[in-house]
Structure formats: structure tokens, C-alpha cells
Point group: C2
Chain length 328, copies 2
């Protein structure tokens, strides 16, 4: 029997989950839930029902894991503890500062219902968290560095779009090559925000807008841009669509550490991602952890877990025997 | 109370474990066991007993985890199942073809004794296995490539030393840069053995030896060299000691995969290591998994496990709460 997956929310992430399920023969899409009018929504998989969010609870018997594809700002803080009362769930909660709080509310709900909830699944938090954890454990004497990019930051693109006179925008976060090299070299550099990343913005201005004013507003925007070296390019709508329509991303986690009686030996562990589609890669990870959530609950597990609490074998469709034979 | 570690075998790996314990404040070295005359052995940690291998069993109450630092060819197939009868154990068994067999014998012994045995810990098998497993799980549609080096292969160095007329030798395995680039580019190339790695040998010949004959014997040696492009340099003993005395190693695991309804998006996950000391890095991983073995057994776990069966949180001295806060 296949693991039956529900998708809650059908944006970039929901569509990505739908595609990922197709690549995993032990899983099937059971239903997609939307806040929009279900009749207005056309999905990719033939024969799968599109339902209203309100109908989810009564479909408990037909769904093994609900993958929550909403946003971290307002959706997931409410949705994850709510749906954990009824389903095994997986979310991609990524507000780092609110992780402990989210864990507590989700854990309470899932322990009460006897379900498994996996939170903060994706690549950061997620695969990058794993790299940081393994790196710190095997090289306790050392430093870890995370770099993001080159890739599109949706939050920064949105921030530019809110500026008066801006019609559309795309922002790329770019790691500074010299900083990467310094870290790899093992000098354990202390790097300021400005030294680690630069920001490059492609902006479509509204007709007649004051370009110098827009550029200044971007470059001085607190938190988002003021601590970075930022470049602004004004381009046409056509160029934005043609050249900047995709959502690539990626990044690096580098653990640099020392071993030996006098710490005389240096080691570098580097984990990097180069992604054509940020949401589709995140979705693929969500689906692998949905398999883990299902299996853990089958074994009697319950409560909230993160990627750090789940053994890698649970993510794979292969048996322990096959894994040992093929991957060890 | 600290986790009390025993070291079985005091070669490069055993010494590395001793150094690694010093970097982990929640652990302490309880004893070192040797087949040599214990009185002849001087270890780095003051006040720790050096004992004969035969005395290990009677020290069960003073050791929480025994780290087995013997070789995979003859030591570990006997030692791991034997000591798993009395201790939680960790080994670095790395004969890929015999992994299933070793797992079975160790699992039986550890299940019977109620101990936890973690096998095949290190970087390959070990950290590289983790990378392969995570990569395959999150990008099921794709290929994985493992490259080793640049680094010293002890097995290949030993093979050269066995040739008539050779006094000493050091062999470096070197990944082919063009092959790495092809894999990263996502073309899923089919790579022959020769296309993935080259081999570079530094050889000290005995006085009067036939250098051309030695070079030919190396380059045509079945399994070890015949399928590779091999370079041989004859150098003096002084140069070998001065330039090639260290044991650096490293490598790359690259997962290349596709997502999207029509597999239109490409992704590359790359995990790489650059190590000054192969044995010390391996030892550091052994020590992290010793912590996991101890904790798993404290929770009632038993039997043989590999890195694929152990959640990353078990490797860390931090609590779940701390990990979520600092690493997620």
C-alpha cells in the first residue's frame, strides 16, 4: 500500500510537492486542499480531488501525511498545531527565532493526538541544519559558516516591490568568493555581514518614477540592505520576465576544525547546494520527511520532531538491508 | 558523569581517538588496550592505564563504550562481535563487500548482550554514506558520484612496498578535475575508472634496483593500478620523509538530480572533505558515534547500527532544545 499524501496549500511549494510525489513510487497524492474555490484550481495529477480547506478533517482516513505548504509568517504557526491534531504533518517553518515556540505548540498537539509532526523541513532550516550538526559533532573544535546564494531571495524581492514607484523586482543574494576562500583556507576569519554576501537587484520602475530615489531607498533599507554592498539595475518588464523568471538558489555550509593533541591538523567539511528551483528542491525534502513521519508513527512514535531527531534511513524507501548494501 | 571510553588498539586510529576525547568535555579516556607489552607503550593522556587486551573483559564496569581501532581485514571481523558481548562498541569496518555479513554477526552478539554496536563509522563508509543516503532520498531521480582524494591511500602505498627493489613508497589518489566538473554540470556522465581518478606514486628504490622494472610493475599491477593513469616518481628517502610524511585525504560525494513535472530543473548537492589527517578525522567521527552508542543503550536500544540508523542529535553533547535553538 502506498503512503497517501495530502497537500495543504497549492502555491510554488504545493506544486513542487505534487511533482516530487510522482518521483517516489511508494507514495501517492490523495488530495490537494486550497483556500481558493476548489473548482477554480487545476492541478497536474489526473484524477486527484481538489478540496476546500474546511473539508480536510473529515478526510482523516484517506490521508497518511499532510504536507503543509503555507508560509511561516502567518499560516504555519496556526496550521501546524491545528492539523497535528488530526494528521501526521510536515512543515517548512523557517522563522529561526520562533523555532522553540513553534516546536512547543506543535509537540503538545502531536503528543496528544498520537501523531508525528516534522517541522522546519527544507534546506535551511533542514539540510543545512544537518550539515551544521554533523560538522559540529565530528569536529567539535572549530567554526561553522553558512553562505547563501547565488539565488533569488523572495523576501528581499518583496521588500523592493513595496517601494513607491517600483512595479516589479528580483533580488539575488551572492556569497563573496574571497570570504568563501578565507573560510576554506582555515584561518577562521571573523566576517561581517557585508563581507559575507552582496545583493544585486533588478528593478522595473513605473513610468516616470524617480530612479535615483528608488535606488537610494533600496540601498538604505534597514535590515534588508543597509548592511550590504548592494547593486541596483533598472531593466524593462520584458527583460525581468526573460532573464529573471526562475527561482534558483543554493549555498554553502562550511565546517572548519582542528584535531590532534596540539590541534596541529586542519580539516574542512563543505556542503553545498546549487538549485535550479528553490521551491521544488524544498518540496522534494518535504516529501522524503513525509515518508519518515509516516514510518515513525507506524512504529508508535509521536510528537514534534526536526531533521536532527530523525535517522537518515527513515527517509529512504529502501530497506535497512538494501541501504547497507548499496550506500554504506 | 562523563562517558568512559576504552580504546582497543593503539595505532594511528587509537591515538586519534585519544586526541578526540580530549576535545569532548563530556567524555573521558578510561583505558587503552594493546596486544604489545603494556609497559612498552607510552600514551599521551596522563594517569590513564594501559592494559593488555586480555584484561578488557574484567573492566566492563569501568567502560561505557569500547572503540575498536583495529583493521578491517583480520581484526574487526573477530573483535567487533566478540567485544559486543561485553561492551557498547564502535568500529570503522570498511570492507564494503563484507558489510552485510559483519552486520549480521555483530547484530546477533549485541542483541544477545543488550549492547549497542555501531559499525562502519568513519568518512567512507560513514559521512560519505550519509551524504549518499540523504542525496538519494531528497533527489530520487538522479545519480551519485563519489571521488576520493587528493590523498594518501595506505593500501596502494603498501602494494608498492611489496614490489622487489622498493624500499618505501607513498601513493596519492587524485580525482580528475574534468570529471568533477562534468558531474557538477549535470550531464550525468558515464565515467570509467580511468576517467575518475589518477594515481601518483613517490617511490624510494633500494640501491641498484631496476627503476624501469619497478615502474612497469606498478603501472601494470592488477586492480591497484592497471585501470588508472599512473605516474611514478623516484625520490630519496629524505625527500619522502620531508615531503610525504603526512596522511592527508579527502573526497567528494556529488548527487545530481532533477525535479519538476517534466524533470526540467536540475540540482547539485555536493559534500566534500579536505583533511590534513585521515586517521585523526576518522577517530573524531568514531568518538561522536561512541556518544550515540552510549545514549542509545541508555534508552534501551540494542543491536548493530550504522550511521544510517542513528539520528544526528545523538552525536551531539547538546540537548534537543539547544540544538533546535542554535543549529536549526
Amino acid at each position: 500500500m502506498k503512503i497517501r499524501i495530502g497537500i495543504m496549500g497549492y502555491g510554488n511549494l504545493g506544486r513542487g510537492v505534487e511533482c516530487a510525489i510522482r518521483q517516489n513510487p511508494d507514495m501517492e497524492l490523495a488530495a490537494v486542499f486550497t483556500r481558493r474555490d476548489p473548482k477554480s484550481l487545476s492541478i497536474l495529477t489526473p484524477g486527484v480531488p481538489v478540496c476546500a480547506v474546511e473539508d480536510a478533517i473529515e478526510m482523516q482516513d484517506r490521508i497518511d501525511v499532510m504536507i503543509l505548504c503555507g508560509g511561516s509568517a502567518t499560516d504555519l504557526p496556526v496550521q501546524t498545531p491545528y492539523y497535528a491534531q488530526y494528521f501526521n504533518v510536515v512543515d517548512s517553518f523557517d522563522t529561526h527565532a520562533k523555532v522553540p515556540e513553534h516546536f512547543e505548540t506543535v509537540d503538545q498537539a502531536a503528543k496528544k493526538s498520537g501523531k508525528v509532526a516534522v517541522m522546519s523541513v527544507g534546506w535551511d532550516p533542514g539540510m543545512f541544519s544537518l550539515s551544521r550538526a554533523y560538522g559540529e559533532a565530528v569536529l567539535p573544535q572549530g567554526s561553522v559558516y553558512t553562505f547563501w546564494g547565488k539565488g533569488v531571495s523572495q523576501g528581499h524581492s518583496d521588500a523592493i516591490r513595496r517601494i513607491d514607484g517600483v512595479q516589479d523586482a528580483r533580488q539575488y543574494t551572492i556569497p563573496v568568493e574571497a570570504a568563501l576562500e578565507a573560510v576554506r583556507g582555515g584561518s577562521d576569519p571573523v566576517l561581517s555581514t557585508r563581507q559575507k554576501h552582496t545583493r544585486e537587484c533588478f528593478v522595473v520602475a513605473k513610468p516616470g518614477a524617480d530612479l535615483a530615489k528608488i535606488e537610494n531607498e533600496i540601498k538604505t533599507m534597514p535590515n534588508y540592505f543597509d548592511e550590504y554592498d548592494t547593486t541596483v539595475h533598472f531593466i524593462t518588464e520584458e527583460e525581468l520576465k526573460r532573464e529573471h523568471g526562475a527561482l534558483p538558489h543554493g549555498g554553502f555550509v562550511i565546517r572548519s576544525g582542528k584535531t590532534g593533541w596540539n590541534e596541529e591538523h586542519h580539516h574542512v567539511i563543505e556542503y553545498s547546494l546549487k538549485l535550479d528551483s528553490n521551491p521544488e528542491f524544498t518540496s522534494s525534502i518535504l516529501v522524503a520527511y513525509a515518508r519518515a513521519a509516516y514510518r515513525l508513527q507506524q512504529e508508535g512514535g509521536k510528537g514534534c520532531k526536526t531533521v536532527l531527531d530523525i535517522a537518515p534511513a527513515y527517509l529512504s524507501a529502501k530497506s535497512g538491508e538494501e541501504l547497507r548494501k548499496s550506500l554504506l
